[in-house]
Symmetry: C2
Subunit: 185 residues, 2 copies
DNA sequence: ACCTGAACACCGTTCAAGT
DNA sequence: ACCTGAACACCGTTCAAGT
């Protein structure tokens, strides 16, 4: 890779990080190119698709999230660790006006395989929590990903997202029926 | 209202219904005007904002949803009725590529007060379900609206939406702790 | 009163021309 | 190899001119 090409690529990613933080994932690509000081053609050469550029923007935050999954797995009991990480994931899905939510899909596999990385990070916490009996055995990563991104998209602010996440997690816990209403009434 | 104005308004709504069904809530307004056979200026005269036009498109589906709430309240036991209606609401939020989800916000009050109508319809089922002890007393309409729209936006297909809704509702039920794990572990 | 449609500033995307 | 930037077809929105 030629030196000037490398330089332009870095300028574009930096500009994209800034612009996406301001305007969200639908930000103008021409604006990003302008801010990076290159022509629009140069942007398309490096990033043939908007999603490829967004993946580059997303990459830093994603790897941090994976690290945090490892830390939590070592430092906390399984149920607690999963809950804490899901909170991080939800916050994550809300950043940059929905960029996070947009990248947390199986299809958003551009350059880095975001979905596979997230699944690995989640399973590291989910499987122990299921083994220890805190979470239903039939829940999988797709459930967690869709529920957290959904909450992140629909909640009006972080406090409400936290409330919805708490409510939802009660549904994922293992069941302890006593009188079992809700069936006959 | 002059006769030709009335006629143009109706043409615009009809065109909007068709185009939004195809392209979703971000459909081109010029395209809608074109399809209605009027100039773009005429569209803006009748609907100063995109959301006002979308509310007109949404209105029919909304009133049907309110009727269904009344029917369910009369014909079924409270817990069952609420669940059935929430299924309808979720389906609803998925129609027209996210138009439903977009209108289910407090801000989307254009012409018709969609939010107030939905709240009335939901409370008709939620309050009895809470009185009968099937749903937590601290859950309110905002919780239900955000959870269903979130699920609708994040789920990849109707079957998955149904699964997520079921999981979530288990979290909204009244609690029956037996061994109460998830705290200490 | 209401409608028209040309006009403006923008957007995403492409591609000949340059170095 | 890579970059440039003019160019194209589109978009949302406005507003003078018409009836």
């Amino acid at each position: 890779m030629r030196a000037d090409a490398r330089r332009n690529r870095d300028l574009l990613v930096a500009a994209a990080i800034a612009v996406v933080a301001e305007e969200g994932p639908d930000a103008s690509l021409n604006e990003i190119a302008r801010r990076a000081g290159v022509g629009p053609g140069t942007l398309y050469r490096h990033f043939p698709t908007r999603d490829v550029l967004l993946a580059a923007v997303f990459q830093g935050r994603l790897s941090r999230l994976c690290e945090q999954s490892e830390e939590l797995a070592e430092s906390r009991p399984s149920g607690e660790a999963l809950l804490a990480w899901l909170r991080l994931l939800t916050t994550h899905a809300m950043t940059d006006k929905g960029l996070g939510a947009r990248m947390m899909r199986p299809t958003a596999t551009a350059g880095v395989d975001c979905w596979a990385m997230l699944r690995a990070a989640a399973d590291r916490l989910l499987l122990p929590a299921q083994r220890d009996g805190f979470i239903r055995a039939d829940v999988d990563f797709t459930d967690l990903a869709e529920l957290t991104t959904g909450i992140a998209q629909a909640a009006s602010d972080p406090a409400r997202a936290d409330r919805l996440l708490t409510l939802t997690l009660d549904g994922l816990r293992t069941h302890h029926p006593t009188s079992a209403p809700g069936r006959d009434a």
